[in-house]
C-alpha cells in the first residue's frame, strides 16, 4: 500500500480501484482499447479481437477453476455448444423469432451452462480427479457428437457457416461483421465479463467459492451448501465459456468441430496458469501474452518448415510445465514480487 493512503471503511478497503495510482491508471488506460482501432488495422486488430474472445472463455474457466477449484477439462466442449447453439439460433430463430446476435450468444451461453451443470452433478459425491475425467469424457463425447452426421437433427450439421450480416438485437442495429464491429462487440463483452468476475470475487458468492476451493469439508461444516455452490460455479463459468464460444463462431464465420478440441482446453489452461490462477488480471494478462507468443511462434515455425507447426503443442507443454514448476501462481505473482523488490530498492527490507 502506498504511503499516506489509508482505508477508513470496509467499502474503500474492498473497492475495485482503491488507490490514487489505480484511479489515474484507470482514467489513462481505459480509453486505450477504445482508441486502439485508430492505430492498428487488419491482422493485428483481428488478433486483439481473438484475445478478447478467448479472455471471456478463460475468465469462465477462472470462475470454475480459480474460484471454486474444480478441474474442468471441457473448454472445447462448452465453446462448441455455445457456438453451435448460436449458429442454430441465428439460422432458425428461437421458436421462429429472429432474436439477433447478442441474445443468440447469450442463449448459447445458457445452453453451455446447462450442460456444465449436468456434468457437475458428480461433484455431489466426488471431486478433483473424478470431475476432471467426467468433463474429459464430455469433451470426448462432444467431439463425437458434433462430428456425427447422423445426429444432424440436433446440432444442425457438422460444419456450419454463420452469416456476417445480422441484427445485434432482433432485426435492429444490423452489422456486417467488419473488423471494427467485431472488435468493439468483443471488447465490450470482455469488459463486462471481467467486471462481473471482479465483482464476483469480492462478493459473498466468490468468498463461498474460495472457501470450497480451500477446504470443502471445512466449508460444509460451516454450513455452506457445497454441492449447490459448486453447481453455481459450473453454471456461471459454463455460461461465460459458452458466450465466448458463440462469439468465436461469429468471429470465424464458420464452425467445425476441429476448432473445439482438447488442444483448445490445454491452450486455455496455459493462458490461465501462465497469467495467474484465480485472478482476473492474471487471466487477461495470460491470454494476451500467450496469444501474442502463439502468433509469433506460428509465423516462425511456418518459416522454418511446413510441418513444423505441429511442434506448437510441444512449446505450450513446455511453458506450462516450467510455469507450474517455477512459479505456480503465474506471471502476475512474479510481477508482484518484482514490484515489492523495486519499491524497497536499494534496501534489503
Amino acid at each position: 500500500m502506498p504511503c499516506g493512503e489509508y482505508f477508513t471503511s470496509y467499502g474503500s478497503r474492498m473497492g475495485l480501484f482503491r488507490w490514487r495510482t489505480q484511479r489515474i491508471a484507470l482514467v489513462l488506460g481505459l480509453p486505450i482499447p477504445f482508441l486502439a482501432p485508430l492505430a492498428v488495422q487488419g491482422g493485428l486488430l483481428s488478433t486483439i479481437t481473438q484475445i478478447y474472445i478467448f479472455a471471456i472463455a478463460v475468465l469462465g474457466l477462472n470462475v470454475i477453476l480459480g474460484y471454486a477449484g474444480e478441474i474442468v477439462l471441457a473448454q472445447g466442449a462448452f465453446m462448441a455448444i455455445g457456438a453451435y447453439a448460436t449458429s442454430q439460433i441465428l439460422a432458425d430463430g428461437l421458436f421462429g423469432v429472429q432474436i439477433g446476435l447478442l441474445p443468440a450468444i447469450m442463449v448459447g451461453g445458457v445452453f453451455a451452462a446447462f450442460v456444465a451443470i449436468m456434468f457437475g452433478i458428480p461433484s455431489f459425491r466426488v471431486k478433483g480427479f473424478y470431475i476432471a475425467i467426467s468433463t474429459l469424457a464430455l469433451q470426448f463425447i462432444s467431439e463425437w457428437f458434433f462430428n456425427n452426421g447422423q445426429l444432424e437433427w440436433i446440432h444442425g450439421g457438422t460444419q456450419q457457416t454463420i452469416p456476417f450480416e445480422v441484427g445485434l438485437v432482433g432485426q435492429w442495429f444490423t452489422i456486417t461483421g467488419t473488423d471494427m464491429e467485431l472488435y468493439f462487440i468483443s471488447l465490450v463483452l470482455m469488459l463486462l465479463f471481467a467486471l462481473i468476475s471482479l465483482n464476483l470475487s469480492r462478493s459473498g458468492m466468490g468468498k463461498v467459492f474460495r472457501a470450497i476451493h480451500d477446504n470443502d469439508l471445512a466449508a460444509g461444516v460451516l454450513g455452506i451448501n457445497v454441492f449447490r455452490n459448486k453447481l453455481l460455479a459450473f453454471a456461471i463459468g459454463g455460461f461465460m465459456i459458452g458466450v465466448s464460444g458463440g462469439l468465436f463462431g461469429y468471429y470465424i464465420g464458420f464452425i467445425s468441430p476441429d476448432y473445439f478440441t482438447l488442444d483448445l482446453t490445454l491452450q486455455h489452461y496455459v493462458m490461465l496458469l501462465f497469467g495467474g490462477l484465480g485472478r482476473v488480471w492474471g487471466a487477461l494478462l495470460g491470454v494476451g501474452i500467450v496469444t501474442i507468443i502463439q502468433e509469433f511462434l506460428r509465423g516462425f515455425l511456418q518459416s522454418v518448415a511446413a510441418n513444423a507447426t505441429s511442434l506448437e503443442p510441444v512449446f505450450f507443454g513446455v511453458i506450462i510445465i516450467v510455469v507450474l514448476a517455477v512459479e505456480p501462481k503465474g506471471v502476475l505473482a512474479a510481477l508482484g514480487q518484482l514490484k515489492d523488490y523495486l519499491r524497497k530498492w536499494p534496501f534489503a527490507y
Binding site: 478441474i71 459425491r125 463425447i141 447422423q150 496458469l273 505441429s310
Partner: protein, 304 residues
C-alpha cells in the same frame, strides 16, 4: 440379429481388445498406486510405444531398418529409460503439489509427446513391417476365432497382471513399493529410498504401456493417431476397477473392451459411427455417479 455365433465372436474380440486396454490401464494404476500421480498422458505414451516400432523398424523416419523383434525390444527399453528421465526431469518437482498441477503437467506432457510425434512421423497412418503383422489365428467353437495380436494381448496382459501381483506380494522391491504407497514418510524413516522406488514404478509403468501401445498398433496393422484415444477410454476401466487396484484395472479393461465391441456392433446403426468409443464414456459417467470408488478401490477417508 442376435445369433450365438456372432455374439461369441464379438465377445471374443471384446475380450481381446480389453486385454490390450488392460496393459495400458495397468500402467496407469501402477503409477497411481505408488506415486499418486494421475497420468493423463497414458494414451500418448501408448502412442509413443506404437510409433517407436515404426521409428526403429521402418526406414521411413530415421533411416533405420532393424529387425522387428529388435525394434520391439528397443521400444520397450526406450519406455523404461523414458520413465526414468520423466521422473528425474519432470515429476520429481511435483511431489506433494496439488492434484491440479499434476493433472495439468501430465496433460501437457501428452501434448508434447503427440506434437513431437506429429512432427517426426507426420499425421498419417504408418504400416508395421510384415514380421509384426501375424496372420495366424486360433479357431474357437461356434465358428469364432481370435486374431494373433489379440491372443498375444490376452496372454501378455495375463502374464503382466499375475506377475505384478506376485511382484507386489512376494518380492522385497514390491513390498517397498507398497510401503511407499501406503505411507511415504514412514517408509523413508525405515530407510527406504523413495526416489528409487518411484523411478522403478515409472519405468515399469511406461514399459507396460509401451507394450500395450505396440499390441494395439499390431491389432490394426500399423500405428495411427487414433491410438491416442485409449488414454481416455482406460479411465472408464480404471475407475470401474478402482483407481489403485491392478487386478481391478485388468477386469475393468476387459469390461470396457466388451462394451466397446458390443457398442460398435449393435449401437452404430442407432446412434451413428463411433458408438463403440462413446459407450465406454457413458459407462464411465455412470460409474462416477453411482460407485466412484469402483470395484476394488480403497475408500479415502478425509478429515478436516
Amino acid at each position: 440379429m442376435v445369433d450365438a455365433s456372432t455374439f461369441l465372436s464379438i465377445s471374443i474380440a471384446g475380450i481381446g481388445l480389453g486385454a490390450l486396454y488392460a496393459l495400458v490401464a495397468m500402467g496407469f494404476s501402477l503409477i497411481y498406486k505408488v506415486t499418486g500421480v494421475l497420468n493423463f498422458a497414458q494414451g500418448q505414451l501408448a502412442l509413443l510405444g506404437a510409433y517407436g516400432v515404426v521409428i526403429f523398424a521402418t526406414p521411413a523416419v530415421l533411416g533405420l531398418n532393424l529387425p522387428a523383434v529388435v525394434a520391439v525390444l528397443l521400444t520397450i527399453v526406450v519406455g523404461l529409460l523414458l520413465g526414468i528421465i520423466l521422473e528425474r526431469v519432470v515429476f520429481r518437482h511435483f511431489i506433494g503439489e496439488p492434484v491440479l498441477s499434476v493433472i495439468i503437467v501430465t496433460l501437457a506432457l501428452g501434448g508434447i509427446i503427440s506434437g513431437f510425434l506429429r512432427f517426426l512421423v507426420g499425421p498419417n497412418f504408418m504400416s508395421y513391417p510384415d514380421a509384426l503383422k501375424p496372420g495366424w489365428s486360433i479357431d474357437l467353437p461356434l465358428g469364432a476365432s481370435i486374431g494373433a495380436s489379440f491372443t498375444l494381448g490376452v496372454v501378455l496382459s495375463l502374464v503382466v497382471v499375475v506377475s505384478l501381483m506376485l511382484f507386489f506380494r512376494y518380492t522385497v522391491t514390491g513390498s517397498i513399493l507398497r510401503a511407499a504407497a501406503a505411507d511415504e514418510q514412514a517408509a523413508m524413516v525405515l530407510g527406504v529410498s523413495i526416489e528409487r522406488t518411484i523411478i522403478i514404478a515409472w519405468a515399469l509403468s511406461i514399459a507396460i504401456t509401451s507394450i500395450g501401445g505396440i499390441l494395439l498398433a499390431m491389432a490394426s496393422g500399423g500405428a495411427g493417431f487414433t491410438i491416442e484415444a485409449v488414454g481416455i477410454i482406460i479411465f472408464a476401466a480404471v475407475v470401474f476397477g478402482g483407481l489403485d487396484s491392478i487386478p481391478g484395472a485388468f477386469l475393468g479393461a476387459l469390461v470396457v473392451g466388451l462394451l466397446q465391441e458390443y457398442g460398435s456392433f449393435y449401437a452404430t446403426g442407432v446412434i451413428g459411427p463411433g458408438a463403440g468409443e462413446i459407450i465406454p464414456m457413458v459407462f464411465l459417467l455412470v460409474v462416477i455417479l453411482i460407485k466412484p470408488r469402483g470395484l476394488f478401490g480403497t475408500e479415502r477417508i478425509e478429515r478436516i
